[in-house]
């Protein structure tokens, strides 16, 4: 990508361990504006953990996070949101006993001048955003648990883009979706990319993300195997990185790369 710019996000030498197990060890990733970076790896490779550090759900043991070249202090989800980092979690993380509008504005409710919830305004803008994302969505008054997987997914995505996110993290965004909805999410990612939003796409399935991503980072056993521009490598080569940790010539090796004997 445009190497002369400062990266939107730069995570440097991040480590975190849980009870002696190094979930993420000395991992560094970066992301530029308008770029889609895929974070690949097996289940348990540490990609979700790494990204949860960025979104404030976990506290790192070591390492630095830079946003626009400046050190960012992210200790909880609120801090992350202040930096414009929005996350769509693999588990969707919606409160399924309340309706779509309540979920979209959860933690950031609009209030009237008397300090009460401005449900009307929230629902109106929810309708607008959902209309853009998923024009078929009509069930605004129902609790989210009554919705289908795809509808819940669009609620989760709507929540992330509602507040002018600059950095979007999508953890297995298409795991719960059918083919048509997956295509919709793909279109959405392209649209957001055009708007200059940086997107981290996390997946264990290379086929989901290879065509959408500008670059890939591959993780294995908590370490970064390496990264590459998608135009410089083939799917099979990336697969080799995921499975064996073998870095192809087109990629830059990281600390987790297989040692060449």
């Amino acid at each position: 990508m445009t190497e002369q710019n400062t990266p939107l996000v730069e995570m440097k030498n991040i480590s975190i361990s849980f009870g002696g197990i190094h979930a993420v060890e000395n991992a560094s990733v970066d992301l530029f504006p308008g770029e889609v970076v895929a974070l690949l790896g097996h289940n348990g490779a540490g990609k979700s953990t790494l990204i949860k550090i960025l979104s404030g759900a976990y506290k790192r043991d070591n390492g630095d996070i830079m946003i626009n070249g400046e050190t960012a202090d992210i200790r909880n989800p609120r801090d992350a949101k202040k930096y414009g980092i929005e996350t769509i979690y693999q588990t969707l993380a919606v409160a399924d006993n309340v309706d779509a509008a309540a979920n979209l504005y959860l933690g950031r409710e609009l209030q009237t001048k008397w300090g009460t919830l401005d449900d009307v305004a929230m629902e109106a803008s929810t309708r607008e955003v959902m209309g853009r994302l998923n024009p078929n969505f009509k069930r605004f008054k129902e609790p989210v648990k009554a919705l289908s997987g795809g509808q819940r997914q669009s609620v989760a995505i709507a929540r992330a883009i509602l507040f002018d996110a600059r950095i979007l993290i999508m953890d297995e965004p298409t795991a719960a979706l059918g083919p048509q909805e997956t295509a919709q999410v793909g279109d959405l990612i392209k649209q957001l990319k055009r708007e200059g939003i940086g997107i981290f796409l996390i997946s264990h399935d290379i086929h989901d993300v290879f065509d959408l991503a500008d670059r890939v980072f591959v993780m294995k056993n908590g370490k970064v195997v390496g990264h590459a521009r998608t135009e410089d490598v083939t799917k099979d080569e990336v697969l080799g990185m995921i499975i064996l940790g073998k870095v192809p010539p087109g990629a830059t090796p990281g600390p987790g790369a297989m040692k060449v004997v």
Partner: protein
């Protein structure tokens, strides 16, 4: 997906409503958007009332008994509103009865011993200072318990089980077990009784204000829906709702006004005011009791908090998915602390009602109230799995519990057997609710 849900709801309503006139009944409920669950509770309540009325040979549905019932319900109803929020966030509070005892004792000692020395006997400010003291103590106890639950990670069941023992013991320590009496004259008004009721005229005023509020609320809701072109109820359904609401309110006022002062008190009043004693006796209406007004006010405020404020939204979101709430940036721990602090204050209000009614603060005040409060909330539709519950439902639940109790007393059923019945009703009610919910899915 949408179709399956549609068809199950249809089959459910039509199955419940019967065949031929099923269409009409189903249409009626759909148009008025009356919650069938709430309606079921009201139906159960009416069955209990009519049942006891028949069994007691016409003693239950009398103005006198209904008036007493309303006063007896007030204290537990106040606490049940807070218990809803506690249970919605997947917590429990077993200490409310003991907090009631402790704050009641604090208020008793303040008004019977401390404040008269400071302010003088029968000083008009005594009641409010004592009440404020009780509220502060209740809030502090609740905050302490909430902090232990939220920040030290001790389960609420354990913390409040400890609280149940601790605050009951503390109640004893305040006066070394002595009962404190009598209460301040003004404070006593919060307990109801002849003095603590607002009389016929004011009761009608309250009733009419309530009717106007119902009309205003329905008009406002309709206007909002129209503004954002959401589906609206048919106009006739709006009229039906207004009419139903007003009939219930004015009917309740009328019944409260049908209960007259006891003859002895009326006679004394007549003598004191030089009123000639009329032929049929002097009929002075009690009207709505002050503790009932307090409970209704608490219910309105708590409903407002639960549905119109951020705090309430967070309470339900945490109950629905604690992890999602945390990830959305909600300070879930502080919300928990606030809920328990609020619960403590509500216990103090309940304590004021109950000590004022008894005209004494005793060691045993509020014993077992935690169970009645939890039962009221659960019968009122609060799910122990979290995320679901309504303030109005819990208050109705408190009324159901008290109706059972009161009816059995009228029937002369022994107190051990009363508990057996209450226990069975609780389990049955929750079972029915489980059945209802699994079908509603």
């Amino acid at each position: 997906m949408a179709e399956t849900i549609q068809s199950t709801t249809n089959s459910k309503t039509s199955a419940a409503a019967g065949q031929a006139e099923g269409n009409f009944v189903a249409r009626f409920f759909r148009a008025t958007e009356i919650d069938t669950r709430m309606l079921g509770m009201i139906g159960a309540l009416l069955i209990i009332w009519v049942g006891f009325h028949i069994l007691t040979g016409g003693l239950f549905l009398t103005p006198r008994n209904l008036w007493n019932l309303s006063v007896q319900t007030a204290s537990v109803a106040v606490m049940a509103t807070g218990m809803v929020l506690v249970i919605v966030t997947r917590n429990i509070d077993l200490s409310v009865g003991s907090i009631l005892g402790f704050t009641g004792m604090i208020m008793g000692v303040m008004q019977a011993r401390l404040l008269p020395e400071l302010l003088g006997f029968d000083h008009p400010a005594i009641w409010i200072v004592a009440l404020a003291g009780g509220l502060i103590v209740g809030a502090l106890i609740g905050t302490l318990q909430g902090v232990i639950i939220a920040f030290l990670g001790v389960p609420s069941f354990i913390v409040t089980l400890g609280g149940l023992l601790i605050w009951r013991g503390a109640t004893w320590f305040v006066t070394s077990g002595q009962t404190v009496a009598p209460m301040d004259v003004n404070f006593r008004l919060m307990g109801g009784g002849t003095e603590g009721s607002i009389g016929a005229t004011w009761s009608w005023v309250v009733g009419i204000i309530a009717c106007l509020a119902i009309i205003a609320a329905i008009i406002n809701a309709r206007r909002q829906r129209k503004r954002f072109s959401f589906p609206r109820r048919p106009v006739w359904a709006e009229y039906v709702l207004v009419a139903l609401g007003c009939i219930v309110v004015l009917g309740a006022v009328w019944i409260a006004n049908q209960y007259y002062w006891p003859i002895a008190i009326a006679r004394r009043y007549a003598e004191a005011n030089n009123i000639a004693w009329p032929e049929g006796g002097l009929l002075i209406s009690q009207g709505i009791a002050i503790p009932v007004l307090m409970a209704i006010a608490v219910g309105i405020v708590m409903t407002f908090i639960a549905t119109r404020l951020r705090f309430g939204r967070y309470v339900f979101a945490i109950g629905g998915n604690p992890e999602a709430a945390e990830l959305a940036g909600i300070k879930t721990r502080w919300v928990t602390v606030k809920i328990f602090a609020l619960m403590g204050m509500l216990c103090a209000i309940a304590a004021a009602i109950s000590t004022a009614r008894l005209n004494a603060a005793t060691n045993a005040q509020g014993e077992l109230d935690e169970l009645y409060t939890i039962a009221a909330a659960v019968i009122g539709g609060t799910s122990l799995a979290g995320g679901m519950g309504s303030i109005a439902g819990a208050m109705l639940g408190a009324l159901v519990m008290q109706s059972l109790q009161s009816g059995m007393v009228l029937l002369g059923i022994d107190s051990p057997f009363q508990r057996i019945v209450v226990g069975m009703v609780l389990v049955t009610a929750v079972w029915l609710d489980t059945v209802y919910r699994s079908r509603a899915k």
